[in-house]
Amino acid sequence: MNFFDHQDAARKATRRLVVIFVLSIVGVIAVLYAPVAVVLTNEAAKQRGPLPMMPWWDPGAFVCIAGAVSAVILLGAGVKRLQLTGGGKTVAESLGGAWVNPAGASPAERRLLDVVEEMSIASGMPVPPVYMIEDESINAFAAGTSPRNAVLGFTRGAVDRLTRDELQGVVAHEFSHVAHGDMRLNIRLACAVAGVMVIALIGRGMLQVVARAPRSRSKKDDGGVGLALIGLLLIVVGSLGAFFGRILQAAVSRQREFLADASAAQYTRNPGALADALRRIAGIGDNRMAADAAGGLNHFFFTSAVNTWLATHPPIAERIRRLEGAAVAPAVPSPAISSQVGAGAAAAMGIAGASNARPGSSPASRPDPPTNASGATTPVRAIENVRPILKRGMSKRLLEACGEPYDAQAVLLLLAWGHDEAVRERQREIVRAGLGPPMAALVSRLRPAVTDVHETLHMVMIDLCMPAMQQLSRPQYTAFRNTLAEVMRADGRVNLLEWAIRSVLARRIETRFGGLRDPVGRLTLADCLDAARTLVSTVAWAGERSRVQAAYLRGADLLRLREREPLDANRCSLDAVDHALERLAHLDEASRHAVVQAVSEAVSEDALLQPREHLLLRGIADRLNVLVPSAVELLDAQAPGAAIDRRS
C-alpha cells in the first residue's frame, strides 16, 4: 500500500461509518415509532368494520418522531464537532499544552524539535507546531483535522525519558496518524457516538421529569407512566447505539494504531526503537495522564491515555510483537523513572528490574527493515540525511530565524525579495511602513543568509517557518499578510515562489483564523475536466522540455482525459492555475486526491524533480488540501535527481 492507498482506506472506513450511523438513526426512529404503531393498531382493532390498509401508520406521528430524532442526533454530533474542529491547536491547548518555542527550548526539547523537523522533511509533511504537556507519563498525540492544521503534543515524560531513537519512533508514529488522515476519522467517529448518546441523555431527562412530577389523579398518572416508558426506551436505544458506536470506534482505532506502528517502522527503518519506546512505557506500569480532559480524547494519544476496556489502543505487548515479529521481551524499566513512579508500578519494576540490557535493541533480534514497493512515497533512510543537508544548506542563524515568530516573517518576506536594487529599495520602504523599522533592519540583516540558500531548499524553508507563523495573533498576521502582498507586488509580477508562499499560507495559517472553511466538495471530476487539464499541462510544461507530451499523458491517463495533447504553453500561467484551483476546490475529496495524484504523476515522469516542479506540486496540493508524498530525493545529494549539489 502506498501513501494514497492508506488515505483511501481511511476514507472507505469513514464511508462505512456513515452508513452505520445512518442505519442507527433509522433504527432509533423505528424503535421509537413502535409503541405508537402498537397503540394505533389496538385502537383500529377495537373499531367496528373492516381494518384500514395500514392501521399502524400515522404520517404525522412519524414525521414528528423522525424529525426530533434526527435533529437531536445531528445537533449532538454538531456540538462535538465544533469542540474538536478548532484545529489541532485548540485540542492541544485544551489539554493544557504550551507551544515549544525553539528559542527557549531546553536541550531535551531542542532534540524533540529536531526529530520532528527531520521527520516532517523526510516524510514530505508540513512541520507541525509542537506542544508540551507537563505530565510525567510518557505519551504523545497528534491532533487536528488535516495535516495543515495538525499539531503534535508530547508529555514531559516522553521528552525526558525516551532516547533519541525511541523518540524518533514515537514521532514517526504520530506522523503516520497525520499522513493517513486518522485524526479526521477519529473526530467523525467521536461525533457520531456523541450524537447517538444524546438520545440516551434525553431519555434520562424524561425519567427525571417523571420522578419529580407531583403524584396526582389516575388520568395524569397514565401520561407519567407513558413518559417514563418512552424515557426508558430512549435510554436503552441511545446507550445501545452509543455502545456499539464505541466498540466500532475502538476497533477502527486499534487498526489505525497498528498501521501507524508499521508506518513508523517504515519511516525510520528502525522498528526496534519504537518497540523499545513501547517497552519502556510498559515498564512504567501506570502510564496514565492526570489531565481530566484526556478521557474524551483517548484516541489521539500514542498509548491509551486512560485505560478503559473499550480500549482505543491495542495491547502494548501485541504492538511490540508485531513490530519485532518475535516473542515479546519482558518490560524494561526506564532508569530515570524510579523516583517518579508511585507504588502501583513497583511490582512491574521488580520483575524486570534485574536486567538493564534491552533485549529489543540487539540487532540480531530485529527483522529486516520492511521493504516498500512504492519507493518514491516513503522516505527511504531519508531521516538520517535531513539534518546534515539542512546544516549544509542553511546557516545556523537562518534555521533559528525560521523558528521565531518575529524572524520567520522576515524570512518569508525575503523569499519574495526582488532582484534589482530599485525594487528592493521600494520593498524595504514597504516593510518599514507596514511592520516598523526594526523589522526592516532585521530583513536587511537576514538577507545574505537567505540569498545564500539554494533554491531546492526554498520550500523546506517555507515549511520550517509555519509553526512559528501559527503563533501570530490575528492583527499581527493581518499586518504581515498585507505587507507581504505589497512586497510581492513591488516588482509588478508574481513568480512561482511567491505563489507557493501564498498557497501554503492560505492553507496553513489563514484557515485557522477563519475556522475551517474548506468548501464542501460536491463536484465530481467530470465537472472540472478543463481545470484539471490546465493543472496537468502546466506541470508538464514545468518539467523537461523534451518530455512535456509524455509527462502530460502520464497525468491525463490517470484522470482519463480525452485530450491527448497538453494545453499551449501560453495558456499555462499561474493565473490559469489559480483559476483552475478555485474551481477544483469544490471537488469531493476522492476527486481532489485523484487530481493531485495525476499532477504528481506528471511531475515524476522524468524521474527528476526540479525545484519549480516541486513548488507547483506543493502549492497545488496545499490549495486542494491533499498531502503529497515526500520530495526528499530532491534534497538527497546521492539521489539521481539531486539538485542541491548540482551547481557546486
Partner: protein, 207 residues
C-alpha cells in the same frame, strides 16, 4: 378514534420533546460559551509564556554583557550596578510568573526597568571606541536588540489575546457565563510607552 389518538400522541410528544430540546440547546450554547472563554484564557497564558521564553533568553545574555563591558568601563560602576540589579529584579518577577500567577504588571515594570538600564549602558558605551569595536560586544548588542524586538512582538500577541479574552468576558452572551464560572478580565502588558524612558524619570513621573 385513531386519528385523535395519533394527534394526541403527537401533541404529547411535542410537549415532552420541545422543552427538553430547548433545555438541551441552552446547555449546548452555555457549553460553547464556556469553551470559548476557556480557550481564550489558555491562549492568553500561552502567549504570556512566549514572552517569558524571550525574557529568559535576555536574562541569560545580560551577565555575558556585563562581563564583557566590565573591563572597559571601569568608571561606570553605577551604570553596571543598575543593570545587574535590574536583571535580578526581572528574573525574580519572571520566576513569580512561572509559578502560574498572572502578575503581569510586576513583570512589565521589572522588564521596563531592565530595558532602561540596558539602554543607559549602551548609551554610555558609545563613549568607548575600543568597546564599540569589540566583536563580542557587537554580537551581544545585536542579540539583545533582536531579543528586545521579539519581546515586543510577543507582548503584542499577548495583548491581542488579552483583548480577545476581555471582549468575551465583557460582552453580552459571554459575560453571563464568565460571571458564573469565575472568568475575569485580564490585564494587558502596558508599558509600551514607558519602555524607552529612563528609569528615574519614569519613577518621578509616577506612571
Amino acid at each position: 378514534m385513531p386519528v385523535t389518538l395519533a394527534a394526541l400522541t403527537t401533541r404529547e410528544l411535542a410537549v415532552v420533546v420541545l422543552p427538553i430540546a430547548v433545555a438541551l440547546l441552552l446547555v449546548i450554547v452555555l457549553a460553547g460559551l464556556y469553551n470559548g472563554l476557556a480557550i481564550a484564557r489558555v491562549r492568553m497564558r500561552n502567549a504570556l509564556s512566549q514572552i517569558d521564553v524571550q525574557l529568559r533568553r535576555r536574562h541569560d545574555l545580560v551577565p555575558n554583557l556585563v562581563e564583557t563591558v566590565r573591563g572597559y568601563m571601569e568608571h561606570e560602576r553605577a551604570t553596571l550596578h543598575a543593570v545587574i540589579q535590574a536583571r535580578a529584579a526581572a528574573v525574580e518577577a519572571a520566576d513569580g510568573l512561572r509559578g502560574g500567577g498572572m502578575a503581569v504588571r510586576a513583570l512589565a515594570a521589572a522588564s521596563a526597568n531592565l530595558d532602561g538600564a540596558l539602554h543607559a549602558l549602551f548609551a554610555r558605551a558609545e563613549a568607548y571606541p575600543d568597546l564599540k569595536a569589540n566583536a563580542v560586544m557587537q554580537n551581544l548588542q545585536e542579540e539583545l536588540v533582536t531579543t528586545e524586538n521579539r519581546v515586543a512582538f510577543a507582548r503584542q500577541a499577548f495583548n491581542d489575546a488579552v483583548m480577545r479574552m476581555n471582549e468575551r468576558v465583557a460582552t453580552f452572551p459571554g459575560n453571563l457565563v464568565a460571571g458564573l464560572f469565575g472568568f475575569e478580565a485580564a490585564e494587558p502588558w502596558q508599558t509600551e510607552a514607558d519602555t524607552r524612558a529612563v528609569p528615574g524619570v519614569r519613577l518621578g513621573a509616577g506612571a
